[in-house]
Symmetry: C2
Subunit: 231 residues, 2 copies
């Protein structure tokens, strides 16, 4: 395990004790491959026969990280699985290139070994499924947001999603506070920052919301929800 020290934090065995992990790894057939900065690790169209775990370095790709990962061509840092969703998909080809952004070490576990690990370590199976499920959930909500056409709709959707469940439908003047500032919110929505600011002003003018240091105040939940338009 000394050769691959960085994989401890990998979400696939995040909740394992050191002994469990040691047990899991030592009984598994795998290879570790090093890449120089700029090397192509996998090419678009390659068939995915291994579970790839980035142990060192970072790679450049258009894939998604587990949570908060953006659509952009982003650096996936180690330790992180690289292609967990392609290994068992019916179409198991990489849709993108994966390129070493710096010197990398990649742990490569054959598909049948992964299946064996599933049967021997139910906890690993759970984590694997949970990991992919998390990605699905992240992508779903991201896609939901993207299908809303207008900035007004996106903001309304987002603010509504922040309403505590204890509120009733008729509650007025609900205060919600995003954990992002306006600039981050604009990037999250995929819109230009001044455009978001303009929309906020308009919604304030139309008495849908109020803004202040405490966050956003939703004046009329029903009216706000009605301003969500998906097409």
């Amino acid at each position: 395990m000394n050769e691959i020290p960085d994989i401890y934090g990998c979400p696939l065995w995040a909740d394992f004790t050191e002994d469990e992990l040691s047990d899991l790894i030592s009984g598994t057939r795998y290879t570790v491959i090093s890449y120089k900065k700029g090397d192509i690790i996998v090419t678009q169209g390659d068939i995915c026969k291994y579970l790839y775990i980035l142990a060192k370095g970072s790679v450049r790709t258009e894939m998604f990280t587990e949570e908060g990962g953006t659509v952009t061509i982003a650096n996936i840092p180690s330790p992180h699985p690289l292609a967990s969703a392609f290994l068992f998909a019916d179409n198991n080809r990489f849709p993108v290139d994966v390129i070493a952004e710096e010197d990398c070490a990649v742990m490569r576990i054959p598909k049948d070994e992964v299946l064996r690990m599933f049967t021997l370590y139910p906890k690993f199976l759970s984590r694997y499924i949970a990991f992919n499920s998390n990605i699905t959930n992240f992508l779903s909500s991201k896609l939901q947001l993207m299908t809303i056409r207008t900035i007004k709709g996106k903001l309304a959707w987002y603010l509504c999603s922040l309403i505590p469940k204890t509120s009733t439908a008729t509650t007025r003047n609900i205060i919600v506070k995003p954990d992002m500032n306006q600039t981050e919110l604009a990037r999250f929505f995929g819109v230009a920052r001044p455009s978001l600011a303009r929309t906020i002003s308009e919604m304030e003018r139309d008495n849908l919301i109020k803004t202040g240091r405490e966050g956003f105040t939703i004046i009329n939940v029903t009216a706000l929800k009605e301003s969500i338009q998906t097409s």
Copy 2:
């Protein structure tokens, strides 16, 4: 099994023989619940403790329940799993309401039973993982498309994705043929049909592509790829 005839075609056991499926189902603890049209099957925020398989009817998922403020996300036909990605996710709460679009029958398998089925039927496990992986891949490519801002970029991305792998980067005049007409393509891109037609005209005018009965002719692959902008 007579009570739940429609689940045969469920993708989770699409490749099972009738005997295998019979074996799988008969040894499993589950309940079948009927809903009338309009019934709420699950509510946003509910913790997902079961694998839900829609055996009869169809459902729609909505983001918000209050009258007037509903946004339909998707219609799901039977037989289809309803929440396979939420059952094992770290945040295992439904993000949406699920409402019966017509009279429905839902097969409900407890989480621990699903785990037991995984260990007893590796084939079922494979299908379950494949199913979720397929969803992830579908969502990824959909989201990738949605993040391209311009119609020109979307079309360029799509046409490039249709280029056969045998073509080299320098090949010119590649003919690709979408399996959708212009109207369907516009809906696929999430844009208005006349807007797509206008963009096609502009790209023809700019000598990026040609159109004809045989499909699209990509005049210059490199130039086309450069017109993909993700922002």
